[in-house]
Symmetry: C4
């Protein structure tokens, strides 16, 4: 099966997810600068999620460059990833509107963790479909960055109940790790 | 006529449908876990619909791999399918917000039934356009799974007035039948 | 310049327009069938607009099959069309929520008229760009159906103040005229 | 790396941004023409933003015709542009609902300024990636129009506190400068 429609559909869904988050920034009443103050935490959480989803899109784009073909299992692994990503706008809005209080911050981390797990499952499904000696298998290797990210997300979910700011700093660290698109794939290309 | 823009347009519409459903998950007031409780049925109905629309997209993707060309009748049969799919977010929200009570569950089944009928019409339109000896005609064969699904949906709409849980279990059964993308097409490819 | 991104962008915008209209169907309170009654006129106006936008997409799809190249003027003529189409969800919602009363019905016709004019301008811009002897110029010919549609829309806007039902029947007639995708282009292909 | 998915993703995001702005035009209560009056400033600011985003899409489309390949830096420069563009619906709604009062008009100009800066960064990233003697570098040259636009936006943000109408006229002037798609690229093609 060809991969192009899977790419097009994923691009569509990710484009919508990244854009509808901005609908949480509701037009405030009044026209002086102070009415924007309550929107600052919402804008900050929007920026954090925008970067995370941008990273997912970049890596999805990179990974599928070395994908040769897809099958039914890949289609579902991809839809599973899109499902968790589609919940990001909800947790982003909830976290922003509650000024980064502990439970929303933990739930935000949980959704990021599930998205990262779904991405790992998708990459394993692709590797299984292409074989152990394929370019994609070589490119992933031991998936060091992926494992660190999962560890940081799990820690962040737990530590949110100590201090949400620790968790938020972990989310920023994961973003920083991944902001450079997947070199492993650029190398093998 | 070429099929690629029909695929792109359908991908766009289905991507939007699958994503705007999540807007029903409205940011709750308050920051403790208990405020999420009322959202659980909405999340469950979102998951059910996400899987159903995912199945439609998977099968649409599969079916159009063996499509050679389209005509005006195919364009309208496809738009007719998209029309019914576009009503799924509405019935999903209504069913979730009313905790799966009987009438919303029946209406949900009715929209799924109409979508399944529209998919059947689309496949027949494509078969008619390609001829009885075409790959697509061979791939569909007697459309056993399609007929079972229609039967289950009709039963579910009626049985919702006995118990909505019977209907919901039928919707899950149909999803389970189709979760493996259309083998008939993979076979002939 | 290549035409493929213009097609992709138009597909995206039209896919969003046709789908966000359904957001006007707001989840009603209560779970018995009677709460759906106020939604019937909204559903009917949604169906009317869905068919109209479906027609625009079909004809856009047909017309661009014979387009060889685009220029700046074509890009703007296309954006101009998308602008008027983007107002259809607004007038659809307003007409539906006011049960087809005269002013909303007239405004609905005005937006359809402007969309039809924009489509005419787009086709003339394309003909000018391709030359008088091009396939697209031959395919359009005297644009008989286009002129009838414009006449019916103008009449409908005026007659809405006599009876909105006359106007609505005119909108249905225009849809019926165009429901068969542009034969002129299928002929020359 | 190939450029086609970057184009597709950008088309998707820009298509959504240009379309969700229309959701600010909320269906008014009542069915007589006067209820539309409060919507006039919202419609005008929608038109202004529609044209601006149309210009960005046109120029993005033009620029990527001479792009041969992309890398990680280009992906992020492009996402950075999409981020600022995604805030346009918010400032458009706020400006329209406050009848073009000074602070919303200044913030609107600030977001346009940041978008223009992001576009400049994107073009420089592309030039750096393609080399000083590439077609894209030649096409951009001294980027005279880009520098004038940035100057006009900065002036408009400041002058909004003198009179918002001066700023608005500057926004219209920038649009007028760019309404003809980038000739530099058409020349080198």
């Amino acid at each position: 099966m060809e991969k192009n429609r899977l790419e097009a559909f994923s691009d569509g869904v990710i484009a919508i997810i990244i854009t509808i988050m901005v609908l949480e920034l509701k037009t405030p009443f009044g026209n002086n600068p102070s009415v924007l103050n309550p929107l600052i935490p919402i804008l900050l959480s929007y920026m954090l999620s925008f970067i995370h989803i941008g990273i997912y899109w970049n890596n999805h784009h990179h990974m599928f460059q070395v994908v040769k073909r897809v099958n039914g299992a890949v289609l579902w692994a991809n839809l599973h990833l899109l499902f968790w990503l589609s919940l990001i706008p909800f947790v982003t809005g909830w976290m922003g509107e509650n000024h980064f209080s502990k439970f929303p911050v933990a739930l935000y981390g949980f959704i990021l963790l599930m998205s990262a797990l779904a991405y790992t499952i998708l990459s394993h499904t692709l590797i299984k479909h292409h074989g152990k000696d394929s370019i994609i298998a070589t490119a992933f290797g031991k998936d060091f960055k992926g494992k660190i990210s999962l560890g940081l997300y799990i820690s962040a979910v737990i530590l949110a109940f100590v201090s949400p700011w620790i968790s938020l700093s972990f989310y920023v660290i994961v973003a920083a790790i991944w902001i450079v698109p997947d070199r492993r794939i650029e190398k093998v290309l």
